[in-house]
């Protein structure tokens, strides 16, 4: 079947990695996998500024850590400075987990000390910024910061949202809200350099 979603989902940069476990078990040739924003939103259950931010921070941080090399799934530690029960933190952590393979405790536990995916997602860590990414092979780390203040919310968006939540919105208002919401996401993607800072 064909899913219908905003066209910009398809034109965003994808994230390509190498997964040694995939290679070992003959899943993908040379273990090469690629993730798109579309897949992340399917799993997250929605496209919103938090999901987008986590996607873009992962994209930019991996680029800074690996340059022209392919990032290695399972060799990246991802840290947050809040608890995993915090709403935004857990939504963002799920996105980074989907891409890097890192998990807190649910995930593959490894074969004879190799390929483990657990204990690579960390919470309540002390650092300034939103997400810290660390390469476990060379210990190099970067911190990603996400700041949406340059991408204002259309004033109509919040009015429409309250109407929908209180059950007073018409179906055309519901559609208008959906369009405004995703337009802001598209703007965030188009201003990646303004909203994401990578501190090396």
């Amino acid at each position: 079947m064909i899913l219908n979603y905003p066209t910009f989902f398809k034109t965003r940069p994808t994230i390509k990695l190498q997964d040694p476990l995939q290679k070992f078990l003959g899943t993908f040739q040379d273990g090469i996998v690629e993730f798109s924003y579309l897949e992340i939103t399917k799993n997250a259950g929605h496209s919103c500024p938090d999901v987008t931010g986590a996607y873009l921070m992962t994209l930019r941080a991996l680029k800074a850590l690996y340059k022209e090399e392919l990032p290695i799934r399972g060799e990246i530690e991802v840290s947050f400075n809040k608890d995993y029960t915090d709403d935004i933190t857990s939504v963002m952590a799920d996105v980074t987990s989907h891409i890097t393979g890192a998990t807190l405790q649910l995930g593959f536990r490894g074969v004879e000390g190799k390929f483990s995916r657990i204990k690579k997602l960390k919470f309540n860590e002390e650092f300034e910024g939103d997400i810290r990414f660390k390469r476990l092979d060379n210990q190099k780390e970067v911190i990603a910061q996400y700041d949406l203040s340059s991408i204002p919310i259309d004033s109509k968006q919040n009015i429409l949202m309250s109407k929908i939540i209180s059950g007073e919105a018409t179906s055309s208002e519901e559609i208008e809200f959906e369009v405004l919401w995703q337009q802001r996401i598209e703007k965030i993607f188009n201003h990646t350099a303004d909203v994401i800072k990578i501190i090396e």
Partner: protein
């Protein structure tokens, strides 16, 4: 990406996600997952990942019949401890499809669309897993046993060589091929390996 051909021939799972609908992400909130989506996220294709996928397919079919299953409206219980064995691998597959999480995920908006508190472990249930619809209260239990689908005996020997680092490039490739052949055989024997009962 190059992957085994059978990945593209396995059954897909279509669901409706009210949160995706609300935020204009997918038209009418309709999303569809295939085995390839799951494998990429899990980091591998193995009897555990394919089993979790097939258990979810069969459980949702049984709970929803001709209706489209609703993401966020499904609670999943596991008999196992999440910190042991492959429980976490199975749980992640089920989360990706149903949206259900234990602590993680979206916490909701005005009491709607929450994805946490929809999964629990160490449950006192008679099977490996239980899937429950929160709207009707109907539930089914699911057991998975792939032991009737044997793997090529050569796999064990090749795996030993791989782990010791003495396998040739050809042997590595052969191991991967045999491993995925078993996963394919599991897909071809869904009704033998997955048992769903009303609970």
């Amino acid at each position: 990406m190059n992957y085994p051909e059978f990945f593209g021939k396995t059954p897909t799972i279509k669901l409706q996600d009210p949160l995706s609908d609300f935020l204009g992400t997918f038209e009418d909130g309709i999303v569809e997952f295939n085995y390839l989506d799951i494998v990429k996220s899990a980091g591998h294709s193995c009897p555990t990942v394919s089993g979790a996928y097939l258990c979810t397919v069969k459980a949702l079919e049984s709970l929803y019949q001709d209706e489209t299953p609703i993401r966020g409206n499904i609670h999943v219980s596991f008999k196992s401890n999440p910190l042991e064995g492959v429980a976490g691998v199975i749980a992640n597959v089920v989360t990706q499809i149903t949206g259900a999480t234990e602590y993680s995920g979206f916490k909701g908006l005005n009491g709607k669309f929450a994805r946490n508190n929809l999964m629990n472990f160490n449950a006192d249930i008679s099977a490996q897993m239980e899937f429950k619809r929160l709207d009707t209260g109907k539930s089914v239990t699911v057991n998975y046993d792939p032991s009737s689908v044997g793997g090529n005996p050569k796999m064990q020997e090749l795996m030993g060589k791989l782990m010791q680092g003495v396998a040739s490039a050809e042997e590595k490739k052969e191991f991967g091929k045999l491993w995925q052949e078993r996963v394919k055989a599991i897909f071809n024997n869904i009704d033998k390996v997955v048992m769903v009962s009303n609970s």
